[in-house]
């Protein structure tokens, strides 16, 4: 058995990687960065500074809860902001059965129904032990707003004549009166 060979010297790139970058020469450092390039060192420092600024504000739990509730309210109210826009769109698209109006009505129904199913998911990140009680009201408003959007969709579908609300829609289920007597005619 021979003596184990000493470990091979690390390659050049490992050395370069591990050793800090040599300070640029004065001439080199005076070369301005190309437009659009920002020195990573400078940005990193700024970000660290920002994080350092914010960290003290999130530290208090009451404030965090208040913020969460505020955010939750924003999400709960958001569907109501769509109602005027959707109403105008529905009004403008007309009551005829066309591919665009059908697609729009479909989207109108799809949004609120998905929203209703995902109610808990939408508020999951604000859901903590402390905010849970307050969130119930918020969720109720959210559901109401989604129902408002749904109502708009139903109004639209009704305007398009797709709801069986009139007598003529049920005509096919009404049957002809059958005579109890039957007359046979022998006219020449």
């Amino acid at each position: 058995m021979s003596q184990p060979l000493p470990p091979p010297p690390p390659p050049q790139w490992v050395v370069a990687l591990n050793s800090p970058m040599p300070n640029p020469t004065k001439a080199a450092s005076s070369i301005p960065d190309p437009p659009g390039f920002s020195s990573s060192k400078a940005v990193g420092k700024q970000r660290e500074k920002q994080q350092k600024d914010q960290q003290p504000t999130t530290s208090k739990p009451e404030e965090t809860d208040a913020l969460k509730i505020k955010k939750a309210w924003e999400i709960a109210i958001a569907p109501s902001k769509q109602i005027p826009m959707n109403a105008i769109m529905m009004y403008m698209s007309g009551n005829s059965l066309q591919i665009f109006s059908i697609m729009m009505v479909f989207m109108l129904f799809k949004g609120p129904i998905q929203g209703l199913f995902n109610t808990n998911a939408a508020f999951a990140k604000f859901d903590t032990e402390s905010t849970r009680a307050k969130l119930v009201g918020v969720k109720a408003v959210y559901v109401l707003m989604q129902l408002g959007l749904l109502a708009l969709g139903i109004w639209k579908v009704n305007a398009m004549g797709l709801l069986p609300t009139t007598r003529s829609d049920w005509l096919a289920w009404e049957s002809e009166r059958q005579p109890l007597e039957r007359a046979y005619f022998a006219f020449s």
Partner: protein, 951 residues
């Protein structure tokens, strides 16, 4: 509902588009008929034209003169010459190279263009009816054209008038009047004289034949002869022949014992007796004389003797100098039927003898047979008479002959081969019905069996049935490539025979025959059979069920025929009941519909078992009667119109009248409920004195009048038609001015029945599932309908109305109307005839959505409504309609005079692919897409893998 409204609107936008040009003769057919050709007035004639072809002219027993193309049997033109009612004999005369044929019927003499059938001149005589008509053989030197003057003999009581009419204008050149009390018989002419032949009553019995010779230029009598024929000629029918326009015109009569035949050359006193050489040993039934009609023909003639089983003929020559008649030769006695036709080329005369097995042509000069053809298709029908045209080709001759058969068929035989057949007897069609072959019957029966079994049993049954059906699979597979290729390659309209558009129509004609026409095959006659035992019958109805059609004449008998072959299956003997009409009753007790005969006084001949069945009949004296099924002794109710009125017509909803929707959806999507009652009857009664027409809507069970309306100022001599379907009825009449507000003209009135005037209201019965006319809870019984009516002024009279039927009644209905004055059949779309059309204002948007548009009093018949388009469909009395398996399509069949059939698609053919649909293009697109995918897929796959490596 909105969709339905949209469909409805679409249906209105393109209502009943007329037939496309390439569908003519494919979806429709038309038999333009003349009637049975009159034997004396049928001839081949060459009109002057560049072509040398001759046409076949005739006048029929219906007094319709016409020209038929001998090549294919198509009708070139026809004109009806009857100008007055009542029977009259028709005459038609023409001459080769002459551009006019002269026809006469009754007191009406007219000349028609031989090519086009256009009127040249006409004369109406009121002082007698035409007894004979001849063209003058020689014309005046002064005549400009080569047209011939005509000589007409008019017969009145004891008076005979001979008139000569100019060829070009028909003006009377001279007139000879004989008021000696003789029976005017015929006129004849030779090259120098006109002969007026009358029958003078002899002292004791019989007639003497009196011949008066007239000067053709002045019409004065030159001489008069009387032949002593009183022992032989008992009636005018005893004179067999009066020769016309030959060089030696003849009078031929036979003695009563038919032992000798007397022949006289007109203008001489000499009567030649010819002894009949009867070797057959049978009684002679019929003697006919055939002689050429041309002036320059040889004076030869042929006497044809027919016995009950055979016939022979003798040819005679006339000696012009001595006026003697000599027998030249004899055509041998042959068993079976035989007819002879005469034709001439220049001076030569040819006789064509047509027997049951062969056609023989001989020259009049010698007995040598010039040509002989065996008959290809020997029909069992006896030939009654024939006309022939002989063409000489070098040594041999060719012949074509138009033969009238006993069956009423008119057949052209060219050199022994039947070229075409015109079924002229169809003009006397009395009744018709759509029939279905019984091949569908098995399946229907199997399905019925399945319906009655348990779920499990039905399933087993169905699997077994499908396994049994597998035996047809090899045949089906064998047919498949052919079917695919034919559907891809042929340019024709899609073949829809498997969708029930190819049905048989069974027709019964006056002469006791039954015909079957195939609507899928241009209305070709698939079979015809003599069904009546008598020569004629009066058919009241044809009742069909799959496979069998039963014909009911008025003597109470019935004949059942197989629909597909025409074999007579069953026959019931006549009863002593004079049948007025036939009722078809679907009772639950028997699987087949029961037919009942109704006597002329309206009483049913028998009763039938049906608890809730009622029978409604009409009597000859104009009453409408209602009967209980079990009781045929006394009626339950009787409808008698007010004094002075008489019932002329009664109509009911068709037995099969499916209603797709029980209400009418209005623009605001409310519903107006239809008054639907299958027991409704519409009775039309007129008062000739007051000039009114009344229309009563009756309930057939209780006899209650549900609605009545009376129209004033009606011309009751004009046709009054009515029809009924679903919840509406329509009628038309000629309305005259009776008050300030009324208008004059033909009117079409449509009335719709609703349960209530209010939308969403079902009337007094409300949501009841059934109703009874008798045991109604309310005091008034059946609730009355709310009737909405509207009148339209139409440009033409309507003689008959019917309604199209479709399978489920979803398609818009057409009101089928027969227009006698323009000889056409039209279908008026129902949306046009909507009584709810807004009057005097434009429709509101809701009304427009409903398909209503502004009411206009004058309803002009749109050209697209004419189902018969350019065809001249004359004499239609009845129009039938039958549903097909396609909801969009209804079969229409019209008969009475001509035969016309078509397919009506009132809402366009929405359930079949149109002609513009290119199957080839579709297949090519699919193939191109497949090729595209096959090419692009490897490229894309490669690219995606490369992208994975690059990443």
């Amino acid at each position: 509902m909105r969709l339905q409204a949209a469909l409805f609107l679409a249906a209105w936008v393109a209502p009943a588009a007329a037939v496309y040009l390439d569908e003519v003769n494919h979806v429709d057919f038309h038999h333009a008929l003349l009637g049975t050709p009159s034997p004396d007035s049928t001839f081949f004639l060459k009109p002057p034209s560049s072509s040398n072809a001759s046409l076949l002219y005739t006048i029929s027993d219906r007094l319709t003169a016409g020209a038929v193309n001998p090549r294919d049997g198509s009708l070139l033109w026809r004109q009806n010459l009857s100008r007055s009612d009542g029977p009259a004999a028709g005459f038609l005369r023409g001459e080769d190279g002459n551009n006019a044929v002269v026809g006469a019927a009754g007191g009406y003499v007219s000349s028609w263009g031989a090519h086009d059938g256009k009127l040249i001149w006409e004369n109406h005589f009121t002082d007698g009816v035409v007894a004979d008509l001849e063209l003058l053989a020689l014309q005046d030197a002064s005549a400009k054209s080569d047209a011939r003057d005509s000589i007409a003999l008019l017969a009145a009581d004891g008076t005979g008038i001979v008139r000569r009419m100019g060829a070009d204008s028909g003006n009377i050149k001279w007139e000879y009047k004989d008021d000696g009390g003789d029976v005017p018989f015929q006129v004849s002419s030779s090259s120098t004289e006109v002969f007026y032949i009358s029958l003078q009553s002899a002292l004791l019995k019989g007639y003497k034949i009196k011949v008066t010779a007239l000067d053709p230029v002045t019409g004065r009598q030159t001489r008069q002869l009387t032949l002593n024929s009183e022992n032989d000629v008992a009636t005018p029918e005893s004179v067999l022949f009066v020769g016309a326009n030959t060089a030696s015109p003849l009078i031929v009569w036979a003695d009563k014992s038919q032992k000798t035949v007397k022949v006289n050359v007109i203008g001489t006193k000499q009567v030649n007796s010819v002894t009949v050489d009867n070797t057959s040993g049978e009684e002679i039934k019929r003697i006919t004389v055939h002689a050429p009609h041309k002036l320059n023909s040889l004076p030869h003639f042929l006497i044809h003797y027919a016995t009950a089983t055979g016939a022979w003929a003798e040819v005679y020559h006339v000696d012009l100098k001595s006026s003697e008649v000599n027998k030249a030769y004899q055509l041998p006695y042959l068993q079976g039927q035989s007819t002879v036709a005469t034709s001439s080329i220049d001076a030569n005369v040819y006789f064509t003898r047509i027997t049951g097995s062969e056609v023989v042509v001989v020259s009049s000069a010698s007995h040598g047979i010039l040509n002989r053809w065996p008959l290809q298709s020997s029909s069992s029908d006896r030939a009654l008479n024939a006309v022939a045209e002989v063409v000489s080709r070098g040594d041999s001759v060719a012949v074509r002959s138009a033969t009238l058969l006993d069956s009423g068929d008119w057949q052209l035989i060219r050199n022994g081969q039947a070229e075409w057949t015109r079924h002229e007897a169809l003009i006397g069609t009395m009744a018709a019905a759509f029939a279905e072959a019984d091949d569908q019957e098995d399946l229907a029966h199997e399905l019925e069996v399945e319906g009655h079994e348990s779920l499990h049993g039905a399933y087993i049954h169905r699997v077994k049935r499908h396994l049994r059906d597998l035996q047809h699979l090899p045949d089906w597979l064998k047919e498949l490539p052919k079917r695919i290729f034919s559907s891809l390659l042929t340019d024709e309209v899609t073949n829809l025979d498997s969708f029930g558009v190819s049905k048989s129509v069974i027709l019964a004609t006056e002469n006791g025959r039954v015909y079957a026409l195939n609507t899928g095959n241009q209305g070709k006659v698939s079979w015809s059979v003599k069904a009546a035992e008598a020569a004629a019958w009066n058919v009241k109805a044809i009742v069909t069920r799959p496979g069998v059609a039963t014909i009911y004449p008025d003597d109470g008998s019935s004949v059942s025929v197989d629909v597909s072959t025409g074999d007579i299956i069953a026959r019931t003997p006549p009863t002593n009941v004079k049948v007025h009409s036939i009722a078809v009753v679907d009772t639950e007790s028997s699987p087949l519909p029961v037919t009942l005969s109704i006597r002329e006084d309206g009483t049913p001949a028998a009763s039938f078992e049906d608890k809730d069945g009622f029978l409604v009949t009409t009597s000859v004296d104009g009453r409408v009667l209602g009967w209980l099924a079990q009781d045929n002794k006394s009626p339950v109710w009787e409808f008698v119109p007010p004094v002075g009125q008489k019932v002329i017509r009664a109509t009911a909803r068709p037995a099969q009248d499916p209603v797709a929707s029980i209400g009418k959806v209005l623009g605001d999507r409310s519903v107006l409920y239809k008054y639907l009652n299958p027991n409704l009857a519409l009775v039309t009664s007129i008062s000739e004195k007051d000039h009114t027409a009344s229309f009563y809507l009756l309930d057939g069970v209780s006899g209650k009048v549900l609605h009545a309306t009376t129209q004033k100022g009606v011309d009751t001599t004009q046709p009054i038609a009515s029809a009924m379907s679903e919840n509406w009825f329509a009628y038309s009449f000629w309305g005259d001015i009776s008050s300030e507000r009324s208008s004059k003209g033909y009117q079409l009135i449509i009335s719709e029945l609703y349960e209530s005037p209010f939308a969403n209201d079902r009337g007094a019965l409300d949501s009841a599932g059934n109703f009874s006319s008798l045991h109604s809870s309310s005091v008034d019984g059946l609730p009355l309908p709310h009737v909405e009516s509207q009148a339209f002024i139409i440009p033409e009279p309507i003689s008959h109305m019917a309604v199209t039927h479709t399978r489920q009644g979803i398609t818009t209905r057409l009101l089928l109307c027969t227009l006698p004055s323009s000889n056409s059949v039209i279908g008026i779309p129902r949306p046009v005839l909507d009584p709810r059309r807004p009057v005097g204002r434009d429709p509101t948007s809701a009304e427009a959505e409903e398909g209503l548009f502004r009411y206009a009093p004058f309803l002009d018949f749109d050209g697209k409504w004419f189902l018969s388009h350019g065809r001249d469909v004359s004499g239609i009395t009845t129009v039938l309609s039958s549903p097909t398996l396609l909801e969009s399509t209804s079969l229409v069949f019209a008969f009475g005079g001509d035969i016309f059939g078509t397919r009506a698609t009132p809402s366009e053919a929405f359930d079949i692919l149109g002609k513009s649909f290119s199957k080839v293009q579709l297949l090519l697109t699919v193939v191109a897409l497949g090729v595209g995918v096959a090419v692009v897929a490897p490229i894309t796959r490669k690219k995606q893998i490369n992208m994975l490596w690059k990443a």
